[in-house]
């Protein structure tokens, strides 16, 4: 098996990502951000980076438990909030989500999970206006590539400092920033139902997926080269298929072009236009 090294220079990553947050928040006239804390490592890292970039007082940590959320998640979020000294608000989403969920007793886990993710998006964007802060995203490169996210749910954000770090690298940086030990050590979970873990649901570990994605995406290996490097053919095909099938989640809605100049095709400006 080819030795794939995903190690990053954490000092450099920390410097670039905190400056990114500072630059991209302040240049559009804000100085504050809001972040949804799940108790997991991704949102904890985003929150820690934002607190370092803007000062803890400018970061609102929003906890949004649902009645079936594990109590551990909330405890872990609390540990982080105390360590960073960021202001916090807890808004239960049970009352928002239940009426919709109750309409269909046969509702699937996936539908329910999507409703919860989108309910949290509504709360975050409401707090964005109330706190006058931009919403900071917490999705990592692995889940963005695999599409292990809810469209317009947990993906919704103004800026994302950790979206180019694989899960393995998120763990490394989180360790370097001394995030609370229970957050570093527990298995990743979207906490959408009791006992859920990402790796059970995906059917493979992040450690395996990260190495494969790094070869396919960053190093431009062909699938055959990945197999020759020691990856199982079925695993390579499954991962590739997920990446391709979920391209739609990484794009704005596609617009049917009829005019000479169309948003998304030939009306090309960065978001930072004029700033």
């Amino acid at each position: 098996m080819l030795n794939v090294d995903l190690t990053i220079n954490c000092d450099l990553a920390r410097r670039v990502l905190t400056s990114f947050i500072r630059s991209e928040v302040t240049r559009v006239g804000f100085r504050r951000v809001v972040i949804g804390l799940s108790g997991g490592i991704d949102s904890a890292l985003s929150c820690a980076l934002a607190a370092e970039a803007l000062g803890p007082e400018n970061v609102l940590a929003v906890c949004m438990p649902y009645r079936e959320s594990s109590s551990e998640s909330l405890e872990h979020a609390r540990l982080l909030i105390e360590q960073l000294g960021v202001p916090t608000i807890t808004i239960e989403i049970t009352d928002m989500a239940e009426p919709l969920i109750r309409r269909d007793p046969a509702m699937s886990k996936v539908r329910k999970g999507n409703i919860l993710a989108r309910a949290r998006m509504i709360v975050l964007y409401d707090q964005s206006e109330a706190f006058q802060g931009l919403v900071v995203g917490t999705g990592n490169k692995t889940e963005i590539l695999l599409g292990y996210t809810t469209l317009w749910g947990d993906m919704a954000a103004a800026i994302n400092p950790i979206g180019d770090l694989y899960k393995t690298q998120v763990r490394q940086l989180a360790r370097a920033m001394n995030l609370p030990r229970p957050i570093l050590e527990k298995p990743p979970s979207a906490d959408l139902w009791i006992g859920q873990t990402d790796e059970d649901e995906l059917g493979f570990t992040y450690a395996e997926a990260d190495k494969l994605l790094y070869l396919l995406v960053d190093q431009r290996y062909s699938p055959e080269e990945c197999i020759a490097a020691g990856f199982d053919r079925g695993f390579v095909e499954r991962v590739l298929n997920r990446v391709r099938r979920n391209q739609f989640k990484r794009m704005m809605p596609i617009i049917a072009k009829v005019s000479n100049r169309t948003v998304g095709y030939d009306f090309l400006y960065l978001r930072d236009w004029g700033t």
């Binding site: 090294d5 220079n9 670039v16 009306f267 400006y269 960065l270 930072d272 236009w273 004029g274 700033t275």
Partner: protein, 287 residues
Amino acid sequence: MELKLALVQMTTQLGNVAANLEKHLYFIEQARKQGAGLVVFPELSLTGYVLQDLAPTVAHRPTEDDPIFRPLLEASHELDLMVGFVDEDLRHRFYIASAYLSGGRVIHVHHKVYLPTYGLFDEGRFFAWGDSIRAFDTRFGRVGMLICEDFWHASPPYLLWLDGADLLLLSSASPGRGLNHGEKFESTRWVEQVTRSYASLFTIFVAHVNRVGYEDGLNFWGGSVIFDPRGEMVAQAPYHEEALLVSSLDLNLLKRVRARLPLLRDERTALVQRELMRILQSERTLG
């Protein structure tokens, strides 16, 4: 002879030329106070880098009646300047350009000859390709200017060397990429390696001025640097922070180094020409 050279490692506002001009004038004043004779700015310093559809709206002609160039030309009475901008020719083609200003006049304009259009870069879509590489005379000796991708290719620095340049002014808006366990981004390591090599290979001074700041998710890493004709680092600005780096260059070093290491004297240009013609005329070009 001494040259006090100032490298301005700055951020820009994307598409806001008036705000960027103000910042140029501020840094020129700071450099003047420190006794600088030449102040150089990064690629597209007057406009910002990822211009896309903004390109035609931020273009300027480097003339005295241009509202952006007038104050810069005025400032160039006191010290020489190199600025980065979008040049628009009379037929409305837009170029990524560097202008060298001195004594109230435009001494030379370089149009970027290599427009990266791959990976995260899309310059060839929005800009016209420059078509000449010329050294030019200044009060500090003969100088050559190149812009970013121009010096990722070996031939432009080589041509400027043969055309008499003893000082290369290289400017960039170089995004940091390739984070791994190393001390620096892969792109940083690459650029530092080649810029130092040119100083060593050609026994010339090389100054590389790179911008800092962010445009959307791109980080520009700075680290502006000067190498002397021995390939030794004279000075370097910090990474990822705005900085004004002022250094004194002992231009007599050119003589001392070349007395010891006559690479320029021994360069077999006729041989290069002969072999290049043969290669270009054969079927084997770029193999």
